[in-house]
Subunit: 406 residues, 2 copies
């Protein structure tokens, strides 16, 4: 059901990072479900993690490892989220990190663990530890396609993309993989995204860019408004490109690097929406003319998460009153609806808070019949803008989430 989910193009190896996968049999023995990423010494790692209060044990450990610095490895399993597992789950994740460090001859406390899949069940630690040998043995610079597959849960296809960008005199590579399609199986799936690059960059700056990039990509997508316990986005910079270390946003090449990083993250984030559970349409919600970005985002999310709008989008029904309803309940202080305009792609549906006199329902229906279109709202009270990407709410969303265990 994915909406124009691109097939994988060529994924570029990132000097300083090797990736290996294997089938550890976390849940079933049908495909690779364990992935290790091994980083040469000197790599810099930054991350953004779920704010869900029920964050899983590996999330807590990974965030702490990022803060400590000196990361040398990531270990990711699909099939089990190690969430809501308490102290034993914490010990399990730690045991896997220790085993990886021992097997790969890495210092202690240099591994970031990640898990995605079933919650409330203990990890099969022994099987994962046994699988580490094969994953380490298979680790190689061009292991990205396998990695993109190994981290999948209910995704209908792998999500990955590469870019090259000039940073001063150096050519820098950026390769990213992601997984996520909603929250299921049996309880909550997870958005996981990893981007590796060989740029040389100071930890503080990478951390700043990672947060900014997340805000323009993974924090701008919504499928069902739910947030998992395991969501994580990690950027790895090996430094192998040999550029003068980027330390400040104003440094030569930093803007180009940040733009390319944003582009990769945005591409991955959009692929997650395209693969949204039951998705039949991919919708860009753009809100312009707000006093600040916050209020634009509030309107955009209210539209993107309204079940009434999502079902109308599924039906391809230009139900413009539902958009007005959503804008109106976004709780924008003092919103004067007489300044509000609504467009579906280039079709002006409403102006000054009323149906546009030029509007014909056939024109709106033609836009909404497309697999991809843009909903554009103008609030008419400022210069701020925000964009959110989402998909529709179909019978298959209900089916996938109601019936997958039957």
């Amino acid at each position: 059901m994915a909406v124009n989910l691109p097939v994988l193009g060529a994924l570029l190896p990132v000097p300083g990072v090797r990736v290996g996968t294997t089938c550890a049999g976390v849940k079933q023995r049908v495909r690779d479900d364990l992935c290790v990423m091994l980083l040469d010494p000197g790599a810099t790692v930054a991350g953004v993690f779920t704010r869900n209060a029920f964050r899983a044990a590996p999330v807590i450990l990974a965030e702490a490892a990022v803060a400590r610095g000196g990361a040398r490895a990531l270990v990711i399993n699909s099939g089990n989220a190690n969430a809501a597992t308490g102290e034993p789950g914490h010990a399990d994740a730690l045991a896997i990190c220790r085993a990886l460090e021992q097997k790969a001859n890495l210092p202690t406390d240099t591994t970031l663990p990640f898990s995605t899949g079933v919650i409330g069940q203990r990890l099969p630690v022994e099987r994962i530890v046994d699988g580490l040998d094969a994953a380490i043995a298979r680790a190689r610079p061009d292991g990205w396609v396998d990695a993109a597959h190994a981290i999948m849960t209910t995704d209908t296809g792998p999500k990955a993309v590469s870019r090259r960008v000039q940073v001063g005199a150096a050519e820098v590579t950026i390769t990213g993989i992601a997984k996520g399609a909603g929250m299921i199986k049996p309880d909550m799936a997870t958005m996981l995204a990893y981007i590796a690059t060989d740029v040389a960059i100071a930890p503080d700056l990478l951390s700043l860019l990672t947060r900014r990039v997340a805000d323009q990509s993974f924090n701008r997508i919504t499928i069902d408004g739910d947030t998992s316990t395991n969501d994580s986005f990690v950027v790895i910079a090996s430094g192998a490109a040999g550029n003068p270390v980027l330390r400040h946003p104003q440094d030569e090449g930093c803007a180009a690097f940040a733009a390319a990083l944003t582009e990769v993250a945005m591409d991955l984030a959009q692929r997650i929406v395209r693969d949204g559970e039951g998705a039949t349409r991919f919708v860009t919600v753009r809100v312009q003319g707000g006093v600040d970005e916050d209020e634009c985002l509030r309107v955009a999310y209210t539209i993107a998460e309204s079940p009434l709008i999502k079902t109308a989008v599924f039906a391809g029904d230009p139900n413009w009153g539902r958009f007005c309803m959503a804008i109106g309940r976004s709780d924008i202080p003092g919103l004067d609806t007489r300044g509000v305009a609504l467009y579906l792609d280039d079709v002006c549906v409403a102006q000054q808070g009323l149906m546009a006199s030029s509007y014909r329902e056939e024109a709106g229906a033609a836009v909404m019949a497309k697999p991809e279109f843009e909903v554009r709202v103008q609030l008419g009270r400022g210069d701020a803008e925000a964009v959110v990407w989402t998909c529709d709410l179909s019978y298959d969303y209900v089916k996938i989430n109601a019936e997958y265990r039957s």
Copy 2:
């Protein structure tokens, strides 16, 4: 598809209030769609209205009329919401009020207008004005059953209830009607609720009680999280019961009256949920042990509006991880998940943030197989509590909202 929606019991006339209906043919000529309520002089009216920025013309006029005082009539049409109609819509609503006042020999500016149905279309003012004669002629104390029918749009059945309560030496009657089943047809339907009583009460106190009662009833239900442009809740007190006028919450009989009023409002609100679009289950979400009511409500609404939980409820699937996920993303500052417990009716599912050792999935599934059950969350950090009522998200919800125009 309604879940245990009670059939109408006997509806008690409210001295001082007469109700009449007719078929004005607002949208089609199949059933009554126009209702007038005529109030004897001296009645007191209070109301709570939608906060949607796109509030419809009649809402603005009704709210102003309540504030002015001296209300003598209400006029309600179904089939057309007179929303997003701008200045002409305002004039239309006003014209109907003026016509009613003239035909019923009432002073100017004493009528509250209400509309529900299609948005973005002009009201058929002439047909409505023509219909007023019949509605006025048919106005009688026992017109409530007809009124409950006339205000319906996509409701599968009428919603009304009566109570008697002792206020000091006087016996007071309370009769209420409501409509609402989600937001549809073609854009946004509406929650409308009217409660009439013959109690004698000061305007300020009635206004205070109305807000409080709304917060315990209509503001505690959610079907799809969307809020219409026309939502209105009005309480009419004719004063005909002859009790000493209630002026303060401490006055004799006021607590009993407030309790009965709350009971009627809560009953009507729950009937709206029972008749929720596509509803197959009626769920009470009770959150206890919060620091304050606000945070309990935040958790309760996050649960009640999560598409993942609503689809699991539809499937009767005790997917407890989804409840944890929703609690965790409710944005409760400093929530310690180790204090959180989850019950499905009397079955303890999770304790201290983990699956309860006593929990068996069969027990959870047995509760969720019932048409009605309670989800109870204990936050373990205070004494506050909040309750919200909701329904599931079924194929029929998608069908009703995606396909009603096809």
